[in-house]
């Protein structure tokens, strides 16, 4: 028994697919009507903007509900055990109220229930950690909290909780590796291996399960994040700079001017290009949108890494040439695919988030214009810096 009606979620997926065929004229109106009757979805209809507002206001109300008794009994809550019990009890209370609301109001990811899930998890995890003895490492805390997170994830299938679970998982590995000798050297390899296993595992789950719709979004998120961590752990820039930062903090040496060379530099240079290249190749052969996008972004990041360490040309030339290159590639791609070739096309389809993209483009443009110089001459550093679009990491 899970938080939401699984049958409705299944029906919803089925209806979305059928509606697409209906729009394309492959199903008749009568057939569509019959399918809607056979597969009802009773969830409350919702809207993205309203969800944001509902999430905000629900969180405000729940936090105030928590702080009110917490301030009244503040004298008793100095004891960690009492404090832990209070938090857990409050978390359970939030869960029960949430359960009533979800069932009475037919909620499904309407913002309200998301706020309940996130706050209840927060209270439970916080209260639970009060019982652990003092002085434990971060990794132990993460490891002990992980089962709780997974339990909540199993019950609600919530995407945010999936993100927190994954973050706790990676933090536990990262932190525990740094504690053992030689851990820093194997860190990139362990991260790559774990991410690869995670990705393969999730793919297996998706392929083997007949009906993974309840967890579709969390599974999707885990794929994205594990692939990103996998590529980042093999990237020369990330490995070298992170290694430098860790050296600095562990040895107490202050501010190295430059991160020192790492072991096996050739291997990491190869991986910097090989992993995104592999993504792109696999994405193109298997028609996997996620791999195509990550592969392209990863290759852009790889070229930025080369620029960062070799600096063959100054930044302005690199940006100009890079921009021209991207424009050229995009124009060539659009022209080449103007008629479908090799199973690819340039025509838009339903999978694309077109409205969202248009809105994002408008915001980015408005933002770019706002750097128009309108102050005295000293302020005229036009176009310096705060573009958000490049997806660059670190100091670029």
């Amino acid at each position: 028994m899970k938080a939401y009606n699984e049958q409705w979620i299944y029906n919803r997926d089925l209806l979305i697919q059928s509606e697409r065929w209906h729009r394309q004229g492959l199903l008749s109106d009568e057939q569509m009507e019959a399918i809607r009757k056979a597969y009802p979805v009773e969830f409350r209809r919702t809207n993205g903007f309203i969800e944001i507002g509902l999430f905000l206001f629900t969180t405000v109300a729940i936090l105030a509900c928590y702080l009110l008794p917490a301030s009244i009994f503040s004298g008793m809550l100095d004891n960690p055990t009492v404090y832990g019990v209070f938090n857990i009890a409050f978390g359970i209370g939030v869960g029960i109220v949430g359960w009533f609301l979800i069932n009475r109001r037919l909620l499904y990811r309407n913002g309200i229930d998301n706020a309940f899930v996130v706050t209840l998890t927060g209270f439970l995890a916080f209260g639970f950690n009060q019982f652990l003895p003092n002085g434990l490492s971060v990794s132990t805390h993460c490891l002990f909290t992980l089962p709780l997170l997974l339990l909540v994830l199993w019950y609600y299938g919530d995407t945010l909780i999936a993100f927190f679970s994954l973050a706790a998982f990676y933090t536990a590995i990262f932190d525990s590796l740094l504690k053992v000798s030689g851990g820093r050297d194997v860190l990139p390899f362990v991260m790559m291996g774990v991410s690869l296993l995670l990705y393969i595992g999730v793919r297996q789950v998706i392929n083997r399960t007949s009906n993974p719709t309840y967890y579709a979004d969390p599974l999707n998120l885990v794929q994205w994040l594990s692939l990103i961590v996998l590529a980042a752990s093999g990237n020369y820039f990330m490995v070298r700079e992170l290694n430098g930062l860790l050296l600095e903090s562990s040895s107490g040496r202050s501010a190295l001017t430059e991160a020192p060379q790492i072991g096996l530099p050739v291997l990491f240079w190869i991986l910097t290009f090989a992993i995104p290249g592999l993504y792109l190749w696999q994405g193109l052969t298997k028609h996997n949108r996620m791999l195509i996008i990550l592969g392209t972004l990863g290759l852009i990041a790889a070229f930025m890494t080369v620029h960062d360490y070799t600096a063959l040309v100054p930044l302005n030339v690199a940006l100009t040439v890079g921009g021209l290159g991207l424009i050229g590639l995009a124009v060539a791609g659009i022209r080449y695919l103007s008629s479908p070739k090799h199973g690819f096309t340039d025509a838009p389809d339903d999978d694309s988030p077109n409205e969202l993209f248009i809105n994002v483009a408008t915001i980015a443009v408005a933002h770019a214009t706002s750097t128009i110089p309108n102050g005295p001459k000293d302020d005229l550093q036009f176009g310096k810096g705060d573009f958000g679009g490049a997806g660059s990491e670190g100091k670029y």
């Binding site: 209806l15 697919q17 059928s18 509606e19 492959l26 057939q31 809607r36 056979a38 979805v41 009773e42 409350r44 209809r45 809207n47 993205g48 903007f49 309203i50 507002g53 206001f57 405000v60 109300a61 729940i62 105030a64 509900c65 009110l68 301030s71 109001r105 007949s210 009906n211 949108r289 996008i293 302005n316 940006l319 890079g322 921009g323 021209l324 991207l326 424009i327 590639l329 695919l337 103007s338 690819f344 096309t345 025509a347 694309s352 993209f357 248009i358 408008t362 915001i363 443009v365 408005a366 214009t369 706002s370 128009i372 110089p373 309108n374 005229l380 036009f382 176009g383 705060d386 679009g389």
Partner: protein, 333 residues
């Protein structure tokens, strides 16, 4: 769930004919994979990088040999892009025009961005506009606004409106959610409010006359945010006029609420109009909360908590009541 799974289920239930199942399955297998938005995102990122790089290039080579050639090249690129966009301009119509070419819209964006680079540089190096900084931002606004209408380009309209807002001394930066401005100056606040009211009025008049009605959303998003932020700025900073700003905020929130309701009844494609409901409730909540604590100055913490509990629940109820209701199953998802 893969398309094949869905087909199997539907066929087993007798909801589609076996012939249909094989047909659709065949179509799904043969359907080419669309790279439409991926390629356009790439083009867009390329344009942003190129204009950023050229902008940096000009400033870094200030007063050096080759600078003239560089400027000439940028000017040529700007003119070339604009010429290309003009050659591929959409047919003039009062309603939403269909784009005639794939690259025209993007060439126009590039031309506009390069124009801003050139203009900024002209002011930096030669002080073309002297100390009349207002002109520096008024010029792009005056230029981009007609371009946006002629080419039916919402991105350029956004640029024009932002330039117009900069002109009255306010720089809104939606990506960073902070505003580099001074709302401690009453003139700035009043002019920002006036400008946004004028823009909103213009948008409604134009929509009424059926002149590019699809631009209304862009107008309302930009001008509406400016209006709300300016009203809140006035509410926070000016003791003597606080209640007037509060009244203004109340009226603005009420108007946006009415507008959303009206939109929802009139057309089917108005999902985006809920943005205005979100804006009015969030900005309104900030204003109400500020007024509550400013005037009541509660002594105990409990009052704070009770305030947030009651108002939080009230706003949740308000937003829930706005959600579309009714026979959910029969509506498209």
């Amino acid at each position: 769930m893969s398309p094949d799974d869905v087909l199997n289920v539907l066929s087993k239930q007798g909801l589609i004919l076996p012939r249909q199942q094989t047909e659709i399955a065949e179509l799904e297998r043969k359907k080419p994979f669309s790279l439409h938005w991926e390629l356009r995102s790439m083009l867009y990122i390329g344009i942003l990088l190129l204009s950023l790089g050229l902008g940096l290039l000009v400033y870094d080579n200030f007063d050096q040999i080759g600078q003239g050639a560089l400027l000439t090249a940028i000017a040529a690129a700007c003119t070339g892009s604009f010429y290309f966009a003009w050659r591929n301009r959409p047919v003039w119509t009062l309603i939403q025009a269909k784009s005639r070419s794939t690259f025209g819209d993007y060439a126009l964006i590039l031309a506009c961005l390069l124009f801003l680079t050139l203009e900024g540089y002209a002011q930096y190096a030669y002080e073309v506009f002297g100390s009349r900084y207002g002109l520096v931002t008024l010029l792009p606004a005056a230029l981009f606004l007609p371009i946006a209408y002629r080419f039916d380009h919402r991105g350029v309209l956004g640029m024009a409106l932002t330039a117009l807002i900069s002109w009255v001394g306010v720089t809104v930066r939606p990506l960073q959610l902070y505003f580099k401005t001074n709302f401690f100056d009453q003139d700035t606040v009043i002019s920002a409010i006036s400008l946004s009211l004028v823009l909103i009025g213009v948008a409604f008049v134009l929509e009424n006359r059926r002149i590019k009605p699809h631009f209304t959303y862009t107008y309302l998003t930009i001008a509406g945010n400016l209006l709300m932020v300016a009203l809140l700025g006035g509410l926070f900073n000016f003791d003597e006029a606080r209640l007037w700003f509060a009244l203004g905020l109340g009226i603005a929130c009420f108007a946006f609420d009415r507008y959303t309701r009206q939109q929802r009844q009139s057309t089917a494609a108005s999902e985006g109009s809920f943005l205005f409901l979100l804006m009015s409730s969030v900005y309104g909540y900030i204003g109400v909360t500020y007024l509550f604590f400013h005037y009541l100055k509660p002594s105990s913490d409990d009052t704070y908590y009770w305030y947030f509990i009651v108002t939080g629940i009230a706003f949740v109820y308000y937003l829930m009541s706005q959600l579309p209701k009714g026979n959910r199953t029969n509506e498209s998802i």
